[in-house]
């Protein structure tokens, strides 16, 4: 399944949710669905899922969707257990699995093709766990998955699609953080 096509499917499902995304998935998402409720500043070292947990707990009335990377999640596997333990119903965690550190030279992740992310999420205690390998199947199921009570987890087996530019300057900018803060305050008012 091409990542950009999967993101177009998600674009059709998403309204005023907070979306936390990382690396190439983030860059693609910013091009496909630019919006101020995109949370782009997650630092480094796989912290997106933890940012998502903080946002979900502090904004229980709002859905939080994390577009994680497989390499990123490997750096923060304990967060699966922390998230399942906190059990926010408004938390949906999608891992875009391509088996590589795509923006860092496309080197393979440890355990490429063998690591069972869905199995780990299920064992950690996520309420719902899905795996999608086919775009048509994902198109039919994405909305239902996002409407299921969290914490919910889905693995999307993906390959690169349209290569969108990597704007690191923006995602780490004060402007990006301020735009999100204002959008959240407006949405919550």
């Amino acid at each position: 399944m091409r990542r950009d096509l999967a993101l177009h499917v998600l674009k059709d499902c998403i309204g005023d949710e907070i979306v936390v995304a990382v690396y190439q998935t983030l860059f693609d998402w910013m091009a496909i669905n630019p919006r101020d409720l995109n949370y782009v500043a997650t630092g480094a070292m796989g912290q997106a899922s933890s940012h998502g947990l903080g946002l979900a707990l502090a904004n229980p009335q709002r859905q939080v969707i994390v577009f994680d990377g497989d390499g990123s999640l490997l750096m923060n596997l304990g967060s699966l257990v922390s998230i399942a333990n906190a059990a926010p119903e408004n938390f949906h965690h999608l891992v875009f699995e391509n088996g590589t550190y795509e923006v860092n030279g496309a080197h393979p992740i440890p355990g490429q093709g063998r690591v069972d992310f869905a199995g780990m999420a299920e064992a950690a205690g996520y309420r719902t766990v899905e795996t999608f390998t086919d775009l048509n199947e994902f198109t039919l199921s994405a909305k239902q998955f996002l409407q299921s009570p969290g914490p919910a987890f889905a693995v999307l087996k993906i390959e690169p699609g349209e290569p969108y530019p990597r704007d690191y300057g923006y995602i780490h900018s004060a402007d990006a953080r301020q735009r999100f803060r204002k959008a959240l305050q407006f949405a919550n008012s």
């Binding site: 070292m45 947990l53 903080g54 707990l57 502090a58 923060n76 304990g78 967060s79 906190a86 959240l184």
Partner: protein, 177 residues
């Protein structure tokens, strides 16, 4: 030197007074990995206090991200941990607290610190490097050792949120229960 009388002269901060300061600062969430220095005086009482929501995390850098993310809608949180967890989280603090200028507030127990000495004079390498490391990273910190030091905690936390800046409160002595 009479060791017993010296030990008796050492005064310890009150855990309940620290908790009162956290409430005064309107801290809602405590994010924590357990630490033996703060276990009895803070974390166990906090875990039983309905005024706080406790988020137990597997590793301290998760907590840095959680506290930073919570700040976007002005939800106040405190990351409670040991200095070993602080050292393990420095890159997260560098990015989320310092580069992003978010109010990440931390309280850190110094495991292995001798109560009668300043941290920089500790025999423990893991203790005596803490303040120099924070200084090198230009991270604001405040040492809490004496009972009266506790009185500043609410103001320190409120200042961090008002100025969107990171602060670390270092517990140099074990809080009493």
């Amino acid at each position: 030197m009479n060791i017993n009388s010296d030990s008796a002269a050492i005064r310890y901060p009150s855990g309940s007074a620290i908790i009162d300061q956290l409430k005064k600062a309107e801290v809602q969430f405590i994010v924590s990995v357990p630490d033996i220095v703060t276990s009895n005086g803070l974390l166990w009482p906090i875990s039983e206090d309905p005024d706080f929501k406790l988020v137990r995390v597997c590793k301290e850098d998760e907590g840095v991200s959680i506290c930073g993310a919570m700040s976007y809608n002005n939800t106040r949180a405190l990351l409670l941990m040991q200095q070993t967890g602080l050292m393990d989280s420095l890159n997260a603090i560098r990015a989320i607290g310092m580069d992003y200028q978010l109010p990440v507030c931390m309280m850190v127990g110094l495991q292995g610190k001798e109560p009668e000495r300043a941290a920089v004079d500790s025999d423990s390498y893991g203790v005596n490097i803490i303040e120099p490391v924070l200084q090198a990273m230009q991270i604001s910190y405040k040492v809490i050792e004496q009972p009266e030091d506790v009185d500043t905690i609410a103001d320190e936390l409120s200042h961090a949120y008002q100025t969107s800046s990171t602060v670390i409160l270092i517990l140099g002595r074990e809080p009493t229960k």
